[in-house]
């Protein structure tokens, strides 16, 4: 791999997004709008909004980047650009890290904007530091990107890729502890949630917002980093120089 090619790939992915104003607008505007919606759905129940709102700031980037990456990667496969790249002097890691760089930038902007609206305008109140929520949000974006990149190999059409969102992301959100605390779930559900990456992402966010900055938060961060690494390795195995 080479820094020149990795950076060029990241810049190329960002340029593609920049030409797609509508997607960019949706990625940046939808999370603040949804949080605003939450605020008024839970009108008069500020505690509930505080409890759910901050982790949501950190989970939106996961969903956005999962979707955007799985479609972008599927397009690379179906339009033949990936095949072209594979005949060129570029390492698989250049593609993975290039995408990673680009979406880290987008996720950081998205999380900052969402945080500004949530904490600044909507009066979301947390005990923990806001910068940590933004940092975790960016990490979650990378996790979503890495998983999207890997799973895109199993979709042949964009219709299929979009269905991976309810198939792989929604169960994780349901089981992460955001809606029902994990210790109140049936044992088998709790067991499933233990092996889902988003569980740790949510746990980290919940602890960050509760200002519980201890070893468990560090452990969550390590698990998230491990999942990103694992998903990237799995993603790399789906980038083949030769295909059937």
């Amino acid at each position: 791999m080479s820094p020149r090619i990795t950076l060029a790939t990241g810049a190329r992915v960002l340029r593609q997004l920049r030409h797609d104003h509508r997607t960019l607008a949706l990625v940046l505007v939808v999370p603040p709008l949804l949080l605003t919606l939450f605020k008024y759905v839970f009108e008069g129940q500020d505690e509930t909004f505080d409890r759910i709102g901050a982790p949501l700031v950190g989970i939106f980037p996961f969903i956005s980047m999962f979707l955007v990456t799985s479609i972008a990667m599927l397009r690379e496969r179906t339009t033949g650009t990936l095949e072209r790249l594979m005949t060129m002097p570029l390492a698989k890691l250049d593609i993975l890290l290039g995408y990673g760089l680009a979406f880290t930038v987008v996720a950081a902007v998205q999380a900052t904007l969402t945080s500004f609206v949530a904490f600044g305008l909507l009066g979301l109140d947390t005990a923990g530091p806001v910068w940590l929520v933004v940092l975790l949000a960016t990490g979650n974006a990378l996790l979503g990107m890495a998983l999207g990149l890997f799973l895109s190999a199993f979709a042949q059409t964009e219709f299929q890729a979009v269905q991976f969102m309810p198939a792989f992301v929604l169960p994780q959100i349901l089981l992460a502890g955001l809606i029902v605390p994990r210790d109140r779930m049936a044992d088998w559900l709790e067991a499933i949630s233990t092996v889902m990456p988003l569980t740790y992402a949510y746990d980290a966010l919940a602890r960050a917002t509760a200002d519980d900055l201890g070893g468990r938060l560090a452990l969550d961060a390590v698990v998230i980093a491990g999942c990103i690494g694992l998903a990237l390795i799995l993603g790399a195995t789906t980038l083949r120089r030769r295909t059937a």
């Binding site: 060029a8 190329r12 030409h19 033949g80 095949e83 002097p89 120089r241």
Partner: protein, 238 residues
């Protein structure tokens, strides 16, 4: 050992796709520094053969040597320009942005971007988003990409489909100039008047090489007046 005048040497190549042996025991030599036309009907195995040469096709067995190295090896990634049948460029980037990206990967100079844009006559569209181009223009962006980095071997899968006759003639003139400068070109086509412009021809049918030779040789061999008839004779004899 490979002959110095041979750019591509294929020995007993077997490729299976979807359980079917699409290229059975195929052997073929392609000379360097000339334009070789790969001709055959749709479904004859042209694209599979081309993919095996550029090293993106999973092959069952056999040897494919390209410019002295094994097909698909790292050493070749700077030396081959490859154009797939469908234009493989980013439709949401401009012509120039596409080429600038691929130039960065190849480590080619920025000046080359403008050179290849001019070579495929897209100067007036350089800052247009590819999605808004016509099909023919889009495939020229793809062709321009393959010209970047001055590759020793250009492998073009039906590069002139959907282009107007003037442009097609200009591109063939360019192919000729590239070959004279030492580039090896392998161009697949199903258009017979393009076959006439090649130095060597390879006729492929149902995964088998039916005939090889210069246009003149093929005509003489079959006592045919034109290549179309020559091919018909060769195909029926095979």
């Amino acid at each position: 050992m490979m002959n110095s005048g041979t750019a591509i040497q294929i020995r007993r190549l077997n490729v299976r796709r979807g359980g079917r042996l699409v290229l059975p025991e195929l052997s073929l030599d392609i000379r360097s520094g000339v334009v070789t036309g790969l001709l055959g009907p749709s479904g004859s195995g042209k694209t599979t053969l081309i993919r095996a040469i550029v090293g993106v096709q999973i092959v069952e067995s056999g040897e494919v040597a390209v410019l002295g190295d094994e097909a698909g090896s790292e050493a070749l990634r700077h030396r081959i320009g490859y154009v797939t049948q469908a234009p493989s460029v980013y439709s949401d980037l401009t012509v120039r942005q596409n080429l600038a990206y691929f130039a960065r990967i190849l480590g080619a100079a920025n000046a080359e971007v403008d050179e290849v844009i001019d070579a495929v006559a897209l100067g007036g569209h350089a800052d247009q988003v590819v999605r808004t181009l016509s099909g023919g223009e889009e495939s020229r962006v793809s062709l321009a990409t393959a010209l970047l980095g001055r590759p020793d071997l250009l492998v073009l899968d039906e590069p002139t489909v959907g282009l107007d006759p003037v442009l097609r003639r200009d591109l063939w003139t360019m192919f000729r100039e590239l070959a004279e400068a030492g580039t090896t070109l392998l161009v697949s086509s199903h258009v017979m008047d393009e076959a006439e412009r090649c130095d060597d021809l390879v006729l492929i049918r149902e995964g088998r090489i039916v005939a090889t030779g210069s246009p003149n040789e093929l005509r003489e061999e079959t006592h045919a007046d034109d290549l179309e008839d020559a091919f018909l004779a060769l195909a029926e004899a095979s």
